[in-house]
Symmetry: C2
Subunit: 333 residues, 2 copies
């Protein structure tokens, strides 16, 4: 049994180490399959794919396969497919959000324009299905095509929730469960499919990924109110400026008095989002412990992720997967 928080300081290094060899193979597939006779495609895709992402999702596929002692190579192609789905989503997200900075770099839509980002996203998405078809497992195809549809639904759900201060924590959890956690869950689950493990192990890995994904997104949402672009490669206050409803805002609004609610209406619904407003938002979150408690919620899901893989045999892969959760929930501090 592992209690979250009992082993800091945490890092992603053990998971990187456990998956290093396989990740080389995945990177080869990724580089090979993002090629095209149309030069703009590898150029634009490469900007994001080579752009210093952690390859978290394919790493989860690889770590899960390692946890199960899988000795084959099918997961390389599928991990690349997972990364392509993620990359396509990021390209479209940046268009949808009008973002200009991701991981500390200018976004593809800023450099090459929205049309190219939309179309190269479509290309990568199609390529991911081609990779799955080459693998040939209808079960994997079902898991990942369903995850893709759920992600898109979650994104639309979030879009329709923009600037809606009456968003409930429940609906917010539905949104991040779809737009973020579904792919984490699928990335882990498919490892059990290729390793031909029983349904119970599939479900356990799905649960690990899903809860980790929720924890991950909650921490991301908290970070938006505590970090700056220098440390996180993301503009602090991006969510605030976009009027995005995240748990810190939901909690600060729910816990505030009439005067506080008036502030949040001005900031989120009416879009008064200058530096002074952001500073005040951060202060109000501190006063209501909204960010701290978003982190507490993240730890709750993190603990559930850890417990989900409790039944699996101990070893380097399991330790790494546990520490990845520790890392995910410790990032903001």
């Amino acid at each position: 049994m592992h209690r979250l928080g009992s082993r800091p300081p945490a890092s992603l290094d053990p998971m990187v180490a456990v998956t290093a060899h396989d990740m080389n193979c995945v990177n080869t597939v990724i580089l090979d399959r993002m090629q095209s006779d149309i030069p703009l495609i590898p150029k634009l895709a490469g900007h994001l794919i080579a752009g210093g992402g952690k390859r978290m999702r394919p790493m989860l596929t690889l770590a899960s396969a390692s946890l199960l002692g899988y000795g084959g190579t099918r997961h390389h192609r599928l991990a690349a497919a997972v990364e392509f789905i993620h990359t396509a989503t990021l390209l479209h997200d940046d268009v949808v959000d009008g973002s200009d900075l991701r991981r500390g770099k200018r976004t593809a839509n800023i450099i090459w324009g929205n049309p190219a980002s939309v179309l190269v996203g479509d290309f990568l998405f199609s390529r991911s299905f081609e990779l799955m078809v080459e693998d040939g497992s209808l079960k994997v195809l079902k898991i990942l095509s369903n995850a893709s549809a759920v992600i898109a639904e979650g994104e639309v759900n979030q879009l329709t929730a923009i600037r809606r201060l009456d968003l409930s924590e429940e609906r917010y959890l539905e949104i991040i469960g779809a737009k973020t956690a579904a792919l984490f869950a699928a990335a882990c689950r498919i490892a059990a499919v290729v390793a031909e493990r029983p349904e119970g192990e599939e479900a356990a890995l799905d649960s690990y990924g899903r809860n980790l994904g929720i924890a991950f997104q909650l921490v991301d949402d908290a970070i938006d109110y505590v970090s700056d672009a220098g440390t996180m490669g993301k503009d602090a206050g991006d969510d605030f400026r976009e009027g995005k409803m995240t748990l810190p805002v939901i909690l600060a609004y729910a816990r505030g008095d009439a005067e506080a609610r008036a502030f949040w209406l001005r900031a989120i619904r009416e879009g008064e989002n200058g530096e002074a407003m952001l500073a005040e938002a951060v202060q109000r979150m501190r006063d209501t412990r909204a960010v701290d408690d978003t982190m507490a919620r993240a730890r709750h899901y993190g603990q559930r992720a850890i417990d989900a893989i409790g039944p699996f045999a101990s070893g380097a892969a399991k330790d790494a997967m546990i520490e990845a959760v520790e890392f995910a929930v410790a990032r903001a501090y």
Copy 2:
């Protein structure tokens, strides 16, 4: 043997009649599978799906299946998948092109904004793969995932060719072969897969669809220089205003003298695209027979489409598929 042009006036009615019963089933699948708990999704998707499109691509799947005497129902789900891919492409296209009118109606991106169009497109694309996975044929999945990647490549290719007057007819044919004809070809080919026909028949139907698709796009490109919004549900001159390189422009430019080329440079590369410029462009195309000869090229591909299905048994389906080609190439007049 059927010689193109020997049976005017042509209409799509015979193909509609041949596929009417099956199309009811396809429409049921489409309406069922565009649903979502997120109300914006069916609303936005329905705007385009119920918006008076001819359902040309799924109709081709159904007509091809009928040509082969296929008696099952698998093609209903797959035809719906084809229509979803097409709809997703249209939603993204309108964002990419900044279009405001399609089939005589305001486009989804104008009504609901680009972000929603991008995301609902992603949703429909994912749903199309879910439908294919439910059918369970890896061969169909391969054909359609490849077609999707090719379409996206073609769109990017076209994007990078914008305002490039040096575009060759060859590269233009590559572009429309990818962005339009690939899905026509796949829509026809998958009928042979579900009917379990030999490779040769698959290839013949692929060829019919591909050549029809090229003819179709050539005529569309010609129409942009002869029609008005009232008759075609498309703004005449859209391509001209966007600086899109299409065969009429390629021919008019190639056939013009130095003075003519200077005109096209101003119009296409520098974007001088007011009404007077459009009128002059149309006149110059008339003088160089650029539109007429684009139509002649279309008839060439149309004849190839008809000859590709020559070996199949005569009957209502074959007659309807031939007349669909006649209709495609006769549309402008």
